[in-house]
């Protein structure tokens, strides 16, 4: 996008980057905020229906879809309370830490083929790492509130989240090892085609691993039945007790943001991401083929449809999370820990070993994964790396975006590939990996 600004509009280099970065982060922020709005409304509707009542119906017409907006306005207008015993600085900072962690992880999440803010080569790892930072906000909130309910809730949540990171990591590694890359765009592109190409159908172990991942993701974002930290019936509101008004809504934006994030991650890792059950755009010839670099409108439309597809899958995941919340009773903290250490970790490990064996032995799988070719992105991407200003003013050279390499780690081939420098404009996401 920065290239577009620099070349087409003639804006100087650094400013073009800034503009592109601002637009992308604004888009993500909008997604998180509107997503939170939408999910709060959805939760109330879903919970209402499950509990045999209607949910909001007045504000905003028959379905009450403006209810969340009204709630938001109410929350902003509330008095800004800080308890006397609270540690002032930490109390104020804690919601932002949580929200920042949740939001940062979106930077590496691709929404469609090439539509990602930061096309990291280690995207999966980055997301898992940043998700683990959210617990910090919770701990700070719990301590800084100066009340014992908050502290208990925070400690419980910290123990829970930290413990569940282990099986979460194990489950996330399984698609990574099947695909051979941690780049989420590449993983998504490899699952193009029919729905049998989705990684969840790769082998029975991966199928099990998905459900373990879902459970661990539920625990990781503190949703019921693992919501000890916010247990309304036990700890008043856990670490949220002393928070009201806008600060409370920051925590909830962080929580719904994380829910959408882990659902989106599951969609990419296991359900093909933006690739639909039926490869319509491939038949139409609209989708970008691996190695294509020119931009065309039909490709953009195909990507847009993929984005809608992806968001639909993520929202479906969140809806299932809500469904589970209002159906299952809450687990005690010792049951939560037992679940993690005695059930999720062994199941995850067995699934990992099984998928590893399946993959290594090359047994039959319904998948026909695209080879690890750089089908990554046909649209130009830019990264942290300093680019001298001349790159933005020179004419765009022909891209060399296509080196497919075999999946088996050929050391010599890899050496050749790593020595073959990608040009400034190409993002050979797959070509230079083993």
């Amino acid at each position: 996008m920065a290239v577009f600004f620099a070349h087409t509009l003639g804006i100087p280099g650094p400013l073009a980057y800034l503009l592109a970065a601002l637009i992308q982060s604004g888009l993500i922020l909008g997604l998180v905020a509107i997503g939170a709005l939408f999910f709060i409304w959805l939760e109330r509707k879903v919970s209402g229906r499950i509990q045999d009542r209607l949910g909001p119906t007045r504000v905003g017409g028959r379905f009450g879809w403006l209810q969340t907006l009204a709630d938001g306005i109410k929350l902003i207008g509330k008095e800004d309370l800080t308890p006397k015993d609270a540690d002032g600085l930490l109390f104020r900072v804690a919601p932002y830490v949580s929200f920042a962690a949740s939001y940062t992880a979106y930077l590496a999440l691709p929404f469609s083929n090439g539509w990602v803010a930061l096309d990291l080569n280690i995207a999966v790892f980055f997301i898992v790492a940043v998700l683990g930072l959210e617990v910090f906000g919770v701990i700070l909130a719990g301590y800084a509130s100066g009340s014992k309910w908050s502290l208990f809730g925070a400690m419980r949540e910290a123990a829970q989240v930290v413990s569940y990171e282990v099986p979460l990591g194990i489950c996330i590694v399984v698609p990574v090892l099947i695909c051979g890359t941690m780049n989420l765009t590449t993983i998504g592109n490899m699952q193009a085609g029919w729905f049998t190409n989705w990684l969840i159908f790769h082998d029975p172990f991966t199928f099990v691993v998905f459900w373990v991942y879902f459970t661990c993701a539920l625990a990781s974002v503190n949703r019921a039945p693992f919501d000890l930290a916010e247990a309304e019936s036990e700890l008043v509101a856990g670490f949220l007790t002393e928070y009201s008004g806008l600060r409370w809504s920051y925590f909830f934006m962080a929580e719904y943001g994380s829910m959408l994030l882990v659902s989106g991650l599951a969609a990419i890792l296991f359900f093909g991401g933006w690739n639909g059950p039926v490869p319509i755009f491939h038949w139409l010839g609209w989708a970008y083929e691996p190695g294509e670099t020119a931009w065309h409108l039909t490709g953009f439309l195909a990507n847009l449809a993929g984005c809608v597809n992806f968001i639909a899958k993520a929202v479906l995941g969140v809806t299932v999370m809500m469904w589970v919340r209002w159906t299952l009773p809450r687990l005690r903290i010792d049951q939560v820990m037992t679940m993690c250490l005695k059930y999720c970790v062994p199941l995850g490990t067995v699934g990992f070993l099984g998928a590893l064996t399946w993959q290594a032995a090359g047994w039959w799988s319904p998948n026909d994964l695209a080879p690890l070719a750089p089908g990554g992105s046909a649209v130009v991407r830019e990264t942290w790396v300093p680019v001298t200003p001349s790159d933005l003013t020179d004419p765009v050279p022909a891209t060399a975006a296509g080196e497919g390499s075999a999946r088996e780690p050929q050391a010599e081939a890899a050496a050749v590939d790593t020595h073959r420098q990608a040009t400034v404009w190409s993002r050979s996401t797959g070509g230079e990996q083993l």
Binding site: N121, F126, F136, A414
Partner: protein, 213 residues
Amino acid sequence: MILAAADWYSFFFILFGGIACVFAVAVLLTSNIVRMAFYLTVSLGATAGIFFLAGAEFVGAMQLMIYVGGTLVLLIFGVMLTAQAQFITMRTRSGEWVLSVIVGSSLLFLLLVAAFGVDSWRTRGQSDSLTVADAQTATAIGAALSGVRVDRLSVPASETQRLRGMSGYLLPFVVVSVHLLVVLVGAAYLARTRAMWREPGEQRRSRGESPAS
């Protein structure tokens, strides 16, 4: 500064480096243990940003995951467990401050002189424009940890070739794994709960002793 800030790299480096240094100094200066932990978190997060800027994305993500998400959570737990009111804020005597500042500033001066003194470190060393090929260190790291140094395959055949398989990081990797296992067992043993014993009317003994001893 304006000249340097015209380049986004310099801007972000100064930003992250500044945050890391400022919050490290804040860790030093504050006496409230919980705030110390928070400032350390921010400082280590900024250090992760510095790692990303230097192209070591894998190390940066590891820093975030292990250091900030693991070690610091551990530290915070420790802080919470020992955070009785009188231990949250403990001041150091000013005599110690004077001595430490003298030693610290001389060490800092020495290090800075060394850092800016070596000529080969003061130039970028890049002759052409940097290519935007991202740091593909993840695969290379994995291969190196398995013993194959894929970034060294261009080394001419010689002694090194014979040892190529052993030039990887397989041995340190295994050693680290065993080390972590030992640490896990040891820390769990050290931190095990012992029964507290208190007789009615008696003063509270230190934990870990039974009344019979």
